[in-house]
Amino acid sequence: MLKNLSWRILTTIVVLVIFGLVGVYPLVATFYGLPMPEWLAQKQLKLGLDLKGGVHLVLRVITDTALKAETEAQSERTREALASAGVNVTGVTVVNDVQFRVDGVQPTQSQAFLSAVADAEGTFDRSSGTGGSYTFTMKPNLQKQFRDESVRQARTTIERRVNELGVSEPSIAQQGNGDQILVQLPGVTDVDRAKGIISSTGLLKLTIVEQGPFSTREQALQAFNNNVPPDIEILPGRQESGGATVYYAVKKAAAVTGRDLRSAQEGIDEYNRPAVRFTLKQDAAQRFGNFTQSNIGRPLAIVLDDRVMSVATIQGRITDSGQITGVSRQEMQDTVITLKSGALPASMEYIQEQTIGPSLGADAIRAGVLASIVGLFLVVAFMLVYYKLSGVNAVVALIFNLVILLGLMAYIGAVMTLPGIAGFVLTMGIGVDSNVLIFERIKEELEHGRPVRIALNAGFSRVFLTLLDTHISAAIAALFLLQFGTGPIRGFAYTLLIGLGSNLFTSTFVSRTLFEMVLGRKQQAATLSI
């Protein structure tokens, strides 16, 4: 019996020390400036964005654009394949995001046509219409695959960009129906810059300027008599410091694109102004060398996300490196980040944005701490008044419960949010319910004239199953809450779940150990203060 008891006491103390160290000591140490070892600092309870301040963004990846890009690319490849196979067609047109059509295939050439489009049929289903027209539709399972892939790619690209931004402890996660990406940037206050970097497509093109600059788009169109050839497009230039935007007519087909990029880094030009330097991969360098060789004297545009960033005249053969000049310091940094992280596979839109200033977070923490103290005081006062010395037992168990809760949250890396603090406060009020049920049962057994020790045993053992039932049904609701919620609500659900688990332990194991410690010496305790 006593051996059993000392084992229980030991377990209780070990649990308290471990969780107290992980969960409570870092909080105290930060507050009073006590020393804290590195490993402990890393494990300490993390605060959510709503308490720490920062930017919370939700983006939706428009996966249709990824499908459209794939369809366009495939229709281009098919056009080339048909041309090189000598199959004459009247047109290859993109019908919608997932379909393109080939028109006017001669019956005599149908055999050659079929072998030329064999490549497309890996991804697209072919159906034939009248007059030698064929419609290609992207296979449904591949559509889903492309959509999923584009969201995944967008996520990793955003991750790379955010890491380049140098935000500490960012959080990037997929959420919602699978096409939403949640980005949390603690400590960031410049929302617009963060948003710009995250969602810029990052598509780089180097191409020849045919005409321009023009001061308006209309002028540019007039230069072609309002009939722009299919291989030329009109793009705006960078907004100059004067505020005016100029327009250029550039070749659609790019000499090199972002895919050919080997690296991008910050640099300076010959006038000591900030510049983005980039180098090309080997095969692209070869191509670019030939391209510049044959276009000496013509203006070359560096286009980023359909905006002409800079234009320079080709002086001679350029092989593997180039630079974008005339940018501000900030633009240089941001451009390097987007170029390094690669292009986004699909366009995105912001559907939610939240900025929490650091002062707002500090207010929330202050209110949460105050509510916790008041809640603790009220519950403790009630338990001591109503259950006298046994109330002390319940209060000790409650404090253990809170320590374990904080410790476990820190240990598993759960994030404390403002609703999480609410869960913490509620855990106090709901947690002592278990003690109440046990104590009431013990009272009842005592009234039936049972000796203290037997009443105690009966109280704990009979109520245990009830407690298990109440805790499990509460946990079911909390689990679905975890599924439903995002960010702050998840913090609440975690607090609730962990609180339920630790409460079951403290209200039965710890509380019982405490009772037995008190009763341990005297074999026949006459009364119990309850």
Binding site: V58, R60, N177, K195, G196, S347, E349, Y350, I351, Q352, E353, Q354, T355, G357, L360, D363, A364, R366, A367, G368, L370, A371, V374, G375, L378, V379, F382, Y386, K388, L418, P419, A422, L426, G429, I430, V432, V436, L437, E440, K443, E444, L465, T466, D469, T470, S473, A474, A475, I476, A477, A478, L479, F480, L481, Q483, F484, G485, P488, I489, F492
Partner: protein, 329 residues
């Protein structure tokens, strides 16, 4: 100390009154919800919310005028109210618009409000917090919230049916649905914004309100085993009286912490704490008057419940069935 010691209230006598009271509250809630509407929080309605901090506290009216002048697009639906601790001199401004979707344009409304405030001659102002939610988010959330409710109710139903028996599970779940409706009614009466936090509190109430019910059911089951000669109604009444003290105390301690949250937890948690307070009170009430009553209604013909038989005890089940047959003949 002892409250409700050896009481002999006839709770079941009051079950009809209780049912009428519940329906009155729920219907009143629905009527108010239909006429006045339930104000939706930003996450559900979409829109832009800005929290601005001023050097010296301006009157709400002045801020509203500044917004009306500088941002007429806000229209009549602009909400302006003081926010948080008065010493912080903060004002919350909420407009239903979101500045176009896509790119960085989402923040256009925020910038417009910011400009209107600066132009409003209200002294130095800084934006300490912003929240912009596009309207598509709300639809998504309501769907997910609803399915979370339904699934957790099914989960609890299944668990209690497994641990007790089906009529008990039905009683517990109907009591919980009752609690959600009553809490909604009170949210409508007091016109609290329906926010994510409120939904979280409602889901917590779902879990919490079954607690008292389980404790009562446990006692009913225990008493049914030991008092085979008593009628079901007597056993339920006795069990309710025996557990009354702990039902009230457990609700009381939970209430204490919820009240602490309501009074000191700050602006963001007020709706959450209010929901919890109402949920705890109605959860306790429904455990006594709704859940137990439903078990007696459900079993009024049999007078005995299968749950009285220790689970797996075939002999007892047999006995129960024989009794039924005897009565029928």
């Amino acid at each position: 100390m002892h409250i409700f010691h050896n009481t002999t209230f006839d709770f079941l006598k009051w079950r009809w009154h209780a049912i009428i009271l519940s329906w009155v509250v729920i219907i009143a809630g629905i009527v108010i919800g239909m006429t006045k509407g339930v104000p939706l929080g930003l996450e559900f309605a979409g829109g832009t919310q800005v929290i601005a901090q001023f050097d010296k506290t301006p009157s709400i009216e002045m801020v509203r005028q500044a917004i009306d002048r500088g941002y007429p697009a806000g229209g009549e639906n602009v909400i302006v109210q003081s926010y948080g601790d008065p010493a912080q001199r903060q004002v919350m401004i909420r407009v239903p618009q979101v500045g176009g979707e896509g790119g960085t344009a989402l923040s256009a409304t925020r910038n417009a409000v910011d400009k209107a405030l600066r132009a409003g001659n209200l002294g130095n102002v800084s934006i300490v917090g912003t929240e912009i939610v596009s309207p598509t988010v709300g639809r998504d959330l309501s769907q997910k919230g609803l399915s979370a409710f339904v699934l957790s109710l099914i989960g609890i139903l299944a668990y209690i049916a497994f641990r007790f028996e089906f009529s008990f599970a039905a009683g517990a779940v109907i009591a919980t649905i009752h609690d959600i409706f009553v809490t909604f009614a009170f949210l409508a009466f007091f016109q609290y914004d329906l926010t994510l936090n409120v939904i979280a509190a409602l889901l917590t109430v779902t879990g919490y309100s079954t607690n008292d019910t389980i404790v009562i059911f446990d006692r009913v089951r225990e008493n049914l085993r030991s008092m085979r000669s008593k009628s079901l109604n007597d056993v339920v009444n006795l069990s309710l009286n025996q557990t009354l003290g702990r039902t009230v105390i457990t609700a009381g301690t939970a209430l204490l912490s919820a009240i602490a949250l309501f009074l000191f937890g700050g602006e963001v948690l007020r709706g959450f704490a209010f929901t919890m307070i109402v949920g705890i009170v109605t959860g306790t009430y429904s455990s006594v008057f709704v859940a137990a009553a439903i078990v007696t209604f459900w079993n009024r013909k049999t007078r005995r419940i299968a749950a009285a038989a220790p689970s797996g005890d075939a002999a007892a089940g047999q006995r129960g069935r024989k009794q039924k047959r005897a009565k029928a003949s």
